[in-house]
């Protein structure tokens, strides 16, 4: 028999028996960040390709909600901080090795950019919108001239943001479940897929809907591939990573993961989209919402389960 026990100390419920540091705020922040990244990616992509009018939801409508998503995400992050008065310290330091730091800086760049873009398209939602001050109007005119540049900035930073949501976790060597290079691409893909789903939701154009359904199907395919790959990676690795994978293969997170993330969040919406593409009439609402749901659940489950997984010694 082997008996290992903590004789004393470590009475801190936030650290033992399992890490309990990050609660709903972080997964929500990661989801919103990923979603925003996904939307902005498509916005920029289609704008740069000159498809502004073919894909109005992607380029004009969806990005208008992005600033709100980002603000909500930042708010969640802020709520999570325990030493809030020192929040500003994030922006007096640039720590290239700290994902948290460059995430904060990425947001610092992309948030204002998203505001600008949203402002330029605010009339999509409120046709009678009028900027009250002339200087804003002048600014608007000025910025319209730089749309392309802005789009490029958005494209680059949305990819960084999307990857960041995964890297934030995967940089933690200490949590075997997170410590896989697949988390970056996985979260990026999941963010893109969520972005695509949102665009589908907002879109009124059949062409656009179809295109995004196709994109989404591909993304879901990639996601499934990445998930399988991730588990194979775990199972082929050290005991701690095998144990981490087991959280989902018979462990406490098995049901939640396979039902909420894989079945409801990936397989079923994929099926629905597939049927839809085959001209079955299925409201796009269902699959889009399922994808968004799956995307949220993925973050929640990975964040929570990751805190359970630890090194043994």
């Amino acid at each position: 028999m082997k008996e290992e026990l903590i004789v004393s100390g470590r009475m801190n419920h936030l650290v033992d028996p399992q890490l309990n540091i990050w609660h709903w705020q972080i997964p929500l922040y990661l989801f919103l960040g990923g979603l925003a990244a996904g939307i902005l990616f498509f916005t920029a992509l289609f704008f740069i390709n000159g498809k502004e009018n073919e894909y109005p939801a992607a380029v004009k409508k969806a990005p208008v909600i992005v600033p709100f998503l980002l603000i909500l995400g930042l708010l969640a992050l802020f709520i999570d901080l325990r030493h809030k008065l020192y929040f500003w310290q994030l922006y007096t330091n640039i720590k290239l090795q700290s994902p948290m730091s460059w995430g904060a800086w990425t947001l610092m760049v992309i948030t204002p950019v998203s505001f600008i873009w949203a402002a330029l398209y605010i009339r999509e939602f409120f046709p009678n919108w009028d900027w009250k001050y002339t200087w804003i109007k002048l600014l608007e005119v000025f910025l319209i001239g730089y749309k392309k540049t802005i789009a490029w900035i958005m494209l680059i930073f949305s990819v960084i943001l999307g990857i960041y949501t995964g890297i934030l976790l995967s940089a933690f060597n200490a949590r075997p479940l997170w410590n896989t290079s697949i988390l970056g691409p996985l979260f990026l893909t999941s963010g893109l897929s969520a972005g695509a789903a949102t665009i589908m939701l907002l879109s009124k154009s059949a062409v656009e809907k179809k295109r995004f359904a196709q994109i989404d199907l591909i993304l879901i395919g990639i996601e499934v591939f990445l998930i399988i790959h991730m588990f194979m990676g775990f199972m082929a690795s050290t005991q701690v990573q095998i144990d981490a994978a087991k959280l989902f293969l018979g462990g406490p997170y098995t049901m939640a993961f396979w039902i909420f993330v894989v079945a409801l969040g990936l397989v079923i919406p994929a099926l629905l989209e597939f049927l839809e593409l085959r001209k079955f009439h299925i409201p796009v609402l269902i699959s889009s919402l399922l994808i968004l749901f799956g995307s949220i659940m993925l973050r929640f489950i990975i964040v929570y389960a990751g805190q359970v997984s630890r090194w043994l010694y």
Binding site: V15, H83, M100, A174
Partner: protein, 173 residues
């Protein structure tokens, strides 16, 4: 720092002393004691370890800190500057040893190697209280320090070396 697991009795005096010396609030701790028993009655063996932050030379907690609150101080001691810490918890999640905790005042706290004492030429609180005198603290770069001497003489290990953190807390086995 080195801890002799052959002498440690797991009394947790070090834990209490750390708590009072450093005003660690009740319900939290900077150090803890682990006991590992193996075998079948009556062929048994126990290893007892007094654990704390390993003051890793390659420490993920410093790396992942977005503000630089977690930093290397004199002699490689890893410290948290409470006035720079935003309490994001990244360092807590990054430490494979779970050596950090969120202080109720918001910042993150952990073992400081009692730098306030060490600077004054005193032993750390845990080392100076330990009834079995099994905690050795000193300069690892000085070949004549108590720690260096004992590590030369005895077999030792570090915890989770495979995590690549290069821990500086040695367990004599």
């Amino acid at each position: 720092m080195a801890v002799d697991t052959k002498k440690c009795v797991g009394c947790s005096d070090c834990v209490v002393a750390c708590q009072t010396e450093n005003n660690v609030p009740i319900g939290y701790c900077r150090e803890w004691v682990v006991e590992v028993m193996a075998g079948t009655y009556p062929q048994l063996e126990i290893e007892i370890r007094s654990e704390r932050c390993n003051h890793c030379k390659n420490s993920p907690c410093v790396r992942c800190c977005p503000t630089g609150a977690s930093h290397y101080s004199d002699g490689g001691i890893v410290l948290v500057e409470s006035k720079e810490c935003i309490g994001c918890g990244a360092c807590i999640a990054s430490c494979p040893y779970d050596a950090r905790y969120p202080h109720p005042d918001g910042y993150v706290d952990k073992c400081t190697f009692c730098i306030h004492r060490v600077k004054n030429g005193l032993d750390t609180a845990c080392a100076s209280v330990c009834p079995t005198k099994c905690i050795y603290f000193g300069d690892l770069d000085d070949p004549n320090s108590k720690v260096s001497m004992i590590l030369k003489r005895r077999k030792y290990k570090t915890l989770i070396p495979e995590a690549g953190t290069n821990p500086q807390l040695y367990f004599i086995i």
